[in-house]
């Protein structure tokens, strides 16, 4: 018998969104939706989190696939990252998203891991993952933000007891593409802008998104506005496979007559949510995407960054990524 088996849970396998939402609303805090399983199962194996009732979403066909809607596209939350990376429409119109999806984790994880799972994954701070009683876990200490805490991967902005960062590669791309999250519960559907979907510890330290218990992210809609824009995505991580970003950058830019007419740009892994760099957008709009503009953009991007003991390197890293996004897109 292998070690670190998961404890028993009861698995529910609904085949429709309605049934899944009914189950999740009935279970409340005791319910746990699962899709690709990479995030969830490691919590269960480590015995750091437990759910008595696991709702398996993988049998819900309506939550899979990529469709064209209203000049843009809608991607079901259960669509795998490999499907997104290889999809013709995504590749031809939203190359930014194809690149971001292709940079997640490893090929095996992308084959099974879903869009919803990547966007909704929990914080990757290893103190928290280890199961300690930190603020995010309901305790009253942060182990990362101490004189000797290992916080090389942690935040430059938005520290509020917790210093964990948004670990997703896809989330900044969704913010740059001005995507809309379709959130359903047993009582209805609401639409949330990608930019507002992620929340920091100041709003709720135990969650990473606006999702309440009983709610599901069923799909993500990407408008036509940014289709075929000039895109830039880059992820810097210790290893090219598996590792979460140290910093990543995603931008969509439209250049007309040699000047940037509009742009959306967001960075990941610098705060608890994807950081939309509105100051960069303001600085570069109306200028040529050249070296000078890029340098200004880089400086603007890092203004106000508050590093921890071991993550000062993220400041020049972010500055350089923003420069490249403007200059090399």
């Amino acid at each position: 018998m292998s070690k670190d088996m998961m404890p028993h849970f009861e698995l529910f396998q609904p085949d429709s969104e309605e049934t899944a939402l009914d189950l999740l609303s009935r279970f409340g805090d005791e319910g746990w939706p699962v899709a690709g399983g990479h995030d969830s199962l490691s919590w269960f194996k480590d015995r750091a989190k437990y759910a008595a009732n696991v709702v398996d979403l993988t049998g819900i066909a309506s939550m899979r696939g990529i469709r064209e809607v209203d000049g843009g596209i809608e991607i079901g939350a259960l669509t795998t990252l490999t499907e997104i990376e290889n999809n013709d429409i995504v590749q031809s119109r939203y190359g930014l998203l194809a690149q971001a999806a292709g940079h997640v984790a490893s090929p095996q994880i992308r084959n099974v891991g879903t869009l919803g799972g990547n966007l909704n994954q929990d914080a990757r701070c290893w103190y928290y993952r280890y199961g300690v009683d930190c603020y995010r876990a309901g305790g009253n200490t942060c182990y990362a933000d101490t004189p000797e805490g290992q916080n090389r991967e942690h935040c430059l902005w938005g520290a509020d007891r917790c210093v964990a960062v948004s670990p997703s590669d896809v989330a900044p791309a969704m913010v740059a593409l001005d995507a809309t999250m379709i959130v359903r519960s047993a009582s209805g559907t609401r639409e949330v802008a990608a930019e507002d979907y992620f929340i920091g510890p100041d709003i709720d330290i135990e969650r990473m998104t606006v999702l309440e218990p009983g709610e599901l992210l069923t799909a993500v809609r990407i408008p036509g506005d940014w289709a075929n824009a000039q895109f830039y995505f880059e992820k810097v991580a210790d290893r090219n496979t598996w590792d979460f970003p140290l910093v990543n950058i995603a931008s969509a830019m439209v250049v007309e007559n040699g000047t940037i007419s509009r742009i959306r740009i967001a960075a990941g892994a610098v705060q608890c949510t994807p950081r939309r760099l509105t100051v960069v957008e303001e600085v570069v709009t109306g200028s040529a995407p050249d070296e000078e503009t890029a340098a200004l953009a880089g400086q603007a991007a890092v203004r106000g960054a508050t590093p921890l003991n071991f993550n000062h390197f993220k400041i020049p890293l972010l500055e350089n990524l923003v420069k490249r996004a403007i200059r090399d897109a």
Partner: protein, 202 residues
Amino acid sequence: MKDSTNGDLSRREFIGGTGAAIVAVNATTATAQDRDAAEARAIAEVPRTRIEITVNGQRQSVDVEDRWTLVELLRDHLGLTGTRIGCNRGECGACTVLIDDEPAYACSTLAVWADGRSIRTVEGVERDGKVSTLQQAFIEHNAPQCGFCTSGQLMSATALLERNPSPTAQEIREALSGNLCRCSNYNAIVEAVQAAVKMGGA
């Protein structure tokens, strides 16, 4: 205080109390066989789900617990121990199997998700009792050192060559990037896959 709780014992406290008594008896008198039998009875009472899977071409029905991962099913219940458990967290690739021809981490896949799917493991890559071309190339190029990652590497490489019969070295590295080799024998592994391409495929 104690008297009043004794007089109004909840079901949970009652069960907890008798459980402690049973454990105490076990600790002093029960034999190891008794304990194993008790454990087997407890496990038998856990509800199971019947799934239909095809493993290495053989269709079979198996009753699985919801919490079993695919690699636990393969190794502990179907006796297919060629698939390894390294990290058991989707971070090393030793457990890579093909699910409907796509590489996936069997440690991070629930066994119930294999229902209706076709699973291929390292036991299924041989042809007519002979090692596959890839396996032969692995042998000839010393691709395995300690060998622990080899079955996972073989599965990723098999999927690659079925999808793309003449990959470049870069494509091979990318396709195998989700499989760690702690001996760091990557160059030999890539050479072996390139050799298999020359020898005629997977």
